[in-house]
Symmetry: C2
């Protein structure tokens, strides 16, 4: 297996991302291709002792960079020499099995659409995240940001994509699906969710109805949660905000005096477990599903560990043969009444 890592467009320096990529490549026993400025990548590889003769690690030279503040669609059309577009090109030509990037999310989505195209019958790709829950197993949420405006048809296709992913990657035989909503009753919600509710009920899915955001992490009511990309993005960032508020308050509280410092010392292992469970860096990759290729979007702030985790996600998606299964899963889908 060969995985390509775009090392240029993230918030952290390329050297840090490359170190994470080398470690992950060795851990999985796979080949890694680093897309970026050749000199920069070569120097970073030298620094961590990777010889130019080591065939497990190669470079795809790309002189240009898509920046975080570039307009996504424009960058995806114009910056053909960027690590982002050259990397996606290598995936389209099947020179690599997966593409991982911590860069501009909108540009990755637009670039993937232009370069790879959609899986037949999937109207729009969606970004899926696996949220850690207190129940132990992850909760899948799709879409968390690829589509700011969605139709009920889009939400239906997100449901099938999420179910296919849960089956192929998590090995859940009959994944259950919930619709993110602001009330549990069947008739609750806005025009979009009310229409999507009716449509999802008619699909051959284990649809459990509406789910609300407040107990997703504590109860894990379903395997897959479906929502439009705007709402899914608000969900993710709000949960993140709630977690940040508590942990910051906690930090302030425990450094107050000697007694609380001793208390914190005795609890240090517990605090570490807490951070690890909710850690973003251990959950660093969100697959973009519905395009013709394995594309994993890493957080812009990804460090070496987070990049390693995003590569793990890509490896699992390649092994799960998700793209081919999506294509098969959506055969006849459009004819089914969409």
């Amino acid at each position: 297996m060969r995985i390509l890592l775009d090392v240029m467009g993230g918030d952290r320096p390329p050297g840090e991302l490359i170190a994470g990529g080398v470690a992950a490549g060795r851990r999985h026993g796979i080949e890694m291709v680093f897309a970026g400025d050749e000199l920069v990548v070569r120097r970073a590889l030298d620094r961590i002792g990777v010889s130019p003769r080591d065939t497990a690690f190669s470079i795809l030279h790309a002189p240009d960079v898509v920046r975080m503040d570039d307009a996504p669609v424009r960058a995806a059309r114009e910056k053909r020499d960027s690590s982002l577009l050259r990397g996606l090109g290598a995936l389209a030509e099947a020179k690599v099995d997966a593409f991982v990037s911590p860069g501009n999310t909108g540009a990755v989505v637009a670039g993937s659409l232009f370069t790879l195209g959609r899986v037949a019958a999937i109207p729009r790709p969606g970004i899926l995240v696996a949220l850690p829950t207190l129940e132990g197993r992850d909760l899948l949420v799709i879409d968390v940001g690829a589509n700011a405006d969605c139709s009920a048809e889009h939400l239906e296709s997100f449901a099938l994509m999420g179910v296919t992913y849960a089956r192929s990657v998590l090995g859940i035989a009959q994944p259950s699906v919930g619709l993110l909503n602001i009330g549990e009753e069947d008739t609750k919600g806005n025009r979009l969710t009310i229409e999507a509710f009716r449509a999802l009920r008619e699909r051959p899915l284990d649809f459990r109805g509406n789910v609300e955001p407040h107990d997703l992490l504590t109860e894990r009511p379903v395997d897959v949660v479906v929502c439009d990309g705007f709402v899914g993005n608000v969900l993710l960032k709000s949960v993140e905000g709630g977690v940040a508020a508590v942990t910051t308050l906690l930090k302030r509280a425990v450094v107050r005096n000697l007694i609380t410092k001793l208390g914190a010392f005795l609890l240090q292992h517990s605090f570490r477990t807490l951070r690890a469970t909710l850690s973003y860096s251990r959950r660093g990759g969100a697959p973009l599903l519905g395009v013709n290729g394995v594309v994993v979007i890493a957080h812009g702030r990804s460090d070496a560990e987070a990049i390693g985790s995003a590569i793990d996600v890509a490896v699992r998606e390649v092994r799960g043969d998700v793209v081919a299964r999506l294509a098969r899963g959506f055969e006849g889908w459009a004819a089914d009444g969409i």
Copy 2:
């Protein structure tokens, strides 16, 4: 001042809500009216030693109840003998200065619209919440659930309502406004937020552009955050979910063994401060702004303390003369280009 409390439609027993109402009434030195079944209310008052001759506490008899699972609009039209509608009727007739209910939110909104009507020129009422932040001062968010589908015009009016409330109740001279969005750049978002952004920029407001959910509680980037009711509700419940996840994990972690138990004992004061800061019960009331009267919606799970806090919110809104100020604030608003 006289405040009416609907004691029948919440999740907790009327006696508990009445105890909270009596305590809050005494604390503020105001009169309280309890809307509900006369026998039930009388018995609850007897139990806590409130004499029938105590003129500070009276009863508005209502034999019917709007349940949590009643269809809101239908209940608001048909259940005329419910504590919810009789209570709103008393407010409409100016027999009381404010109405507080922990009941069915949709029915409170629909009932308020039917019974009190809208403040002239305000297209739709909005529910405002004050979120505690790490910066000390609360953050106001409007709308968090009155309107599942909104237009840009609605969001503009929420902005003016939030600003009026921040001025009248929090005493902020020039409140700043942010638009809840999934990116900070001006052009980010869905159709609604892109249109609302352009419209808000033209209004005579201190509009600071888009704000994202993840740092609202830690940074408090603005005084007032504007969003559609669906997204606002998801925001609230997601933050709640994030907080619940961390605190539950923490509880599990600290009971693990003797050492962690000792650590937790030494930190017990810090944990208590943490809970108090983020406590829902201390933030129990959300004003429904834009209707002709002071209506405060309490959480369905409200206990005595939370009901007391919702009554505090109502007292502050009456003292701040918010309804009259809204009416004045919206004079000429419609002519301004909506």
